[in-house]
């Protein structure tokens, strides 16, 4: 077995290698020697650097030994010495790498487990080489997410434009050139910031578990949201080992989240968004998507919720690969918050009779019927006419989230999604938006974007949900209610201890300012490494473009890299959804300092907690939203995608059913 050579370790300042995705450092774990041999061969043909292990324990020790030596892990589900999901969790927590699960088992439950544990993708055996050819996307995605989180509004605007362009080309083989360039630039910025804030690197990460968050919220309530200052909160919480900085950064995120929540009330007639409900939602554990809560929080229209839910569920793992791929920013929904877009049931919009494509751009369309059914229960309650039912039918095109039965809902959702005045999004947008292969992860990634700003706000819950798992204390915690996840303060479990760093850095910024319109200030504080090695775990706090009305959509579970504050999101995570899995995690981004980045939650493979701040305004917007910061961009991007959407959808579907021959 070849070991990761030191030569493949990249320096922080090194951007993505030129020959990417060749050279991707893959660790494959499978107890079946036949499969292992075949996989190794296939991966070699894809020009990846392959290391194989037949035991999970060996894999862990290799990963620990070569800390930054791998970009992505492929693991079998059934192994004699350790359960594959357990390994997945460990990797997510310790190394924050995107992990793709594999199994000959394609039962819904198993795949779902992959999703919930944060895999960024799920491949059905026999694995085809085509599926392996795309795994690099999880790594990139993860990094992008991280990067995004860190990005500040200023940088974001520029980058958004660029990203929009990039995203448009992004299908399965990304536009490497421009992507690399932009990434390089971001990475450079990140590097600079990181160096400035070396102190954050040393602090251990704080994992904002549900319980911890509840305590936090309790303390905040007791003090009164206006008067809640980190010091007092810390005192009230009385948690040993928690620092004022941790609390400060968490508070900031939480405030943003609340802001966003309150901002959404406008449109929700039947949603009651209250502070308390938001809080409750925050802790809820609806399969990771607590649309209900979100709805309650007034964040989403019923339909959006349903869609989001469906999307969120994303079976990131549906496809052969995707486990959660964590967050595929591109697939995030656009914010539903857009005040201008109202969801009305009867509103047909133009998407009438659209095909069952994903209405929501970001919504991973790879929801399988069964998955949708799952979601259905959740969403059913939240929104009356949500298209959950539709989802069952629509399951077929994985790309469509909920589409089906409710054509009306769709248009609306789309409308909302685009936030901008784009009124009609081709139904196929979703499909096109979703990169192939990330179906599963897409969901994870496609968090709901409640970004009011055109971008869309990713609730990254789905993804985060997935990612959260490993990190989450509760394995079953889908992500503390999806919507609430985005609470600003939620630094959900930072998978790898990076959190503390980030938290600290964030706190430097002045956490209590609450709604910091853009985390510009943070940007400077947290240098990011543009390391291809995914130093920054998916931080996806994009600085909102303009107004941060939306509280950070903390995708709760996701690593709350404080990096969000940083102007530049250092998406160290390379493409990883993917829910999801990610990613999960397909990428491995070791979020460095918390300050700098929010851990990329959207680690497709690995479950990562990603703290996305939706409020970052459009920060959350995953790539998609980011790119489509402007209407025109959005439209053109969408249209562009649409053109290829059918093909994409098909490929996605195929990808999704990985094992389907031909």
């Amino acid at each position: 077995m070849s070991t990761a050579s030191s030569s493949s370790v990249r320096k922080p300042s090194e951007s993505v290698p030129l020959q990417f995705p060749a050279g991707l450092r893959v660790l494959v774990v499978d107890d079946d020697p036949t499969c292992l041999m075949i996989l190794e061969k296939m991966l070699r043909i894809c020009r990846y650097e392959v290391t194989k292990c037949s035991r999970a324990e060996d894999a862990l020790s290799v990963l620990r030994r070569y800390k930054n030596g791998f970009d992505i892990v492929l693991s079998d589900v059934h192994m004699p010495d350790m359960d594959g999901f357990k390994l997945l969790e460990c990797i997510g927590l310790e190394m924050d790498l995107p992990v793709i699960m594999m199994s000959v088992d394609d039962g819904k439950n198993v795949v779902m487990k992959g999703v919930t544990h944060g895999a960024c993708d799920y491949l059905i055996k026999p694995v085809r080489i085509e599926a392996l050819k795309n795994i690099w996307q999880h790594v990139v995605r993860k990094r992008k997410n991280e990067w995004k989180d860190l990005e500040q509004s200023g940088v974001e605007d520029v980058d958004r434009q660029q990203k929009a362009n990039e995203e448009a080309d992004y299908s399965s083989s990304a536009n490497e050139g421009s992507w690399r360039n932009s990434k390089r630039r971001k990475e450079d910025i990140d590097d600079a910031e990181e160096r400035d804030d070396s102190s954050t690197l040393k602090k251990p990460r704080v994992v904002w578990s549900v319980e911890l968050h509840q305590q936090f919220v309790g303390a905040v309530n007791q003090l009164g949201i206006e008067k809640a200052v980190p010091k007092k909160i810390l005192e009230l919480m009385n948690v040993p080992g928690l620092t004022r900085e941790n609390v400060a950064s968490h508070l900031q995120k939480y405030r943003l989240y609340l802001r966003r929540v309150s901002g959404m009330t406008l449109q929700q007639s039947n949603l009651n968004n209250t502070f308390m409900s938001a809080q409750e939602a925050f802790g809820s554990t609806l399969n990771g998507l607590d649309l209900q809560t979100l709805a309650a929080a007034g964040q989403l229209q019923p339909q959006s919720l349903a869609t989001l839910q469906a999307a969120g569920f994303g079976r990131s793992t549906a496809k052969s690969g995707m486990p959660m791929p964590l967050v595929d920013q591109r697939n995030h929904f656009f914010s539903f918050e857009n005040p201008k877009l109202r969801f009305s049931d009867g509103q047909q919009a133009h998407l009438n009779g659209s095909k069952p494509m994903n209405l929501l751009h970001g919504i991973p369309t790879t929801m399988e019927p069964k998955q949708l059914a799952n979601l259905q229960q959740h969403s059913a309650q939240s929104h009356g006419n949500m298209t959950m039912q539709a989802s069952a039918q629509g399951g077929q095109t994985s790309s469509q989230l909920m589409q089906t039965p409710q054509p009306q809902a769709r248009p609306q959702i789309l409308n909302e999604c685009t936030a901008t005045s784009v009124t009609r999004l081709p139904p196929t947008i979703q499909q096109s938006i979703l990169p192939n292969g990330t179906a599963g992860s897409v969901l994870a990634r496609n968090e709901f974007t409640t970004n009011s700003r055109g971008g869309g706000y990713n609730l990254i819950s789905p993804a985060s949900t997935m990612s959260n798992f490993p990190m989450n204390q509760t394995a079953e915690l889908p992500g503390n209610s999806f919507p609430l996840q985005s609470t600003p303060g939620m630094s959900s479990i930072v998978p790898k201890g990076r959190f503390p760093d980030e938290v600290n850095s964030v706190s430097d910024i002045k956490g209590s300012d609450g709604f910091v319109p853009s985390y510009d200030m943070f940007r400077d504080l947290h240098p990011q490494k543009s390391d291809w090695d995914l130093q920054h775990v998916g931080v996806t706090f994009d600085a909102s473009q303009g107004s941060l009305d939306i509280p950070t959509a903390a995708f709760g579970h996701q690593g709350y890299a404080s990096s969000q504050q940083n102007g530049h999101n250092r998406h160290t995570s390379t493409v990883g959804k993917a829910m999801f899995l990610l990613e999960e995690g397909s990428d491995n981004g070791n979020a460095q300092s918390m300050g700098q980045q929010l851990n990329p939650l959207f680690d497709d493979g690995s479950v990562r907690v990603k703290m996305e701040r939706a409020s970052e305004t459009s920060s959350q917007t995953d790539l998609f939203s980011e790119h489509f910061g402007q209407e025109e961009d959005l439209m053109s991007a969408l249209l562009k995608q649409q053109q290829g959407s059918i093909a994409t959808a098909e490929s996605e579907l195929e990808w999704f059913h990985h094992n389907t021959p031909v």
Binding site: D32, H78, S103, P126, P661
Partner: protein, 154 residues
């Protein structure tokens, strides 16, 4: 025998293997992985499979012979066999595994035993078939010919 004839025979034989479900498309995928740099890839993988499957069959036999049958364990073995057989494209073997797994779920010892028998048979069959195939390939190559590429349309 002249090369052309051998090649045609090879093609016919291959076709029959696919038609009779001994092999499926995954085998073709494997063939694509083989190239000049790695001419024995398939042979290696296949022999690895047979080694591994023999071990699994032994484990299964032993597990089913126990007074207290541990169906979890059996399911684990069968699952693995399913995985490896599907990886090389041994379709019939895989199908028996699927059947056996449902017997495991029902905790049906009789059914499991029958399946085990079938597994042994199928593995033996596909082993022979593949050996024949490889021999034919060797003969073609020895005679200076090249092995035709398999293209299956499903």
């Amino acid at each position: 025998m002249e090369v052309g004839l051998m090649q045609r025979q090879w093609v016919e034989y291959t076709k029959s293997l696919f038609l009779e479900d001994f092999l499926d498309s995954q085998f073709i995928e494997l063939q694509k992985l083989q190239d000049e740099g790695n001419p024995d890839f398939i042979a290696e993988v296949v022999s690895l499979f047979f080694e591994d499957s023999e071990r699994l069959l032994n484990d299964l036999t032993a597990a089913l012979a126990q007074p207290d049958v541990d169906f979890q364990k059996i399911d684990g073995h069968v699952h693995q066999l399913k995985g490896s057989s599907s990886s090389i494209g041994a379709q019939r073997v895989k199908n028996v595994c699927i059947t056996m797994r449902s017997f495991c779920e029902e905790q049906n010892i009789e059914g499991c035993l029958r399946c085990l028998q079938q597994l042994k048979q199928e593995i033996c069959l596909v082993k022979n078939k593949l050996e024949n195939l490889f021999r034919m390939e060797q003969q073609i190559v020895a005679a200076g010919g090249s092995i035709p590429t398999t293209e299956l349309i499903f």
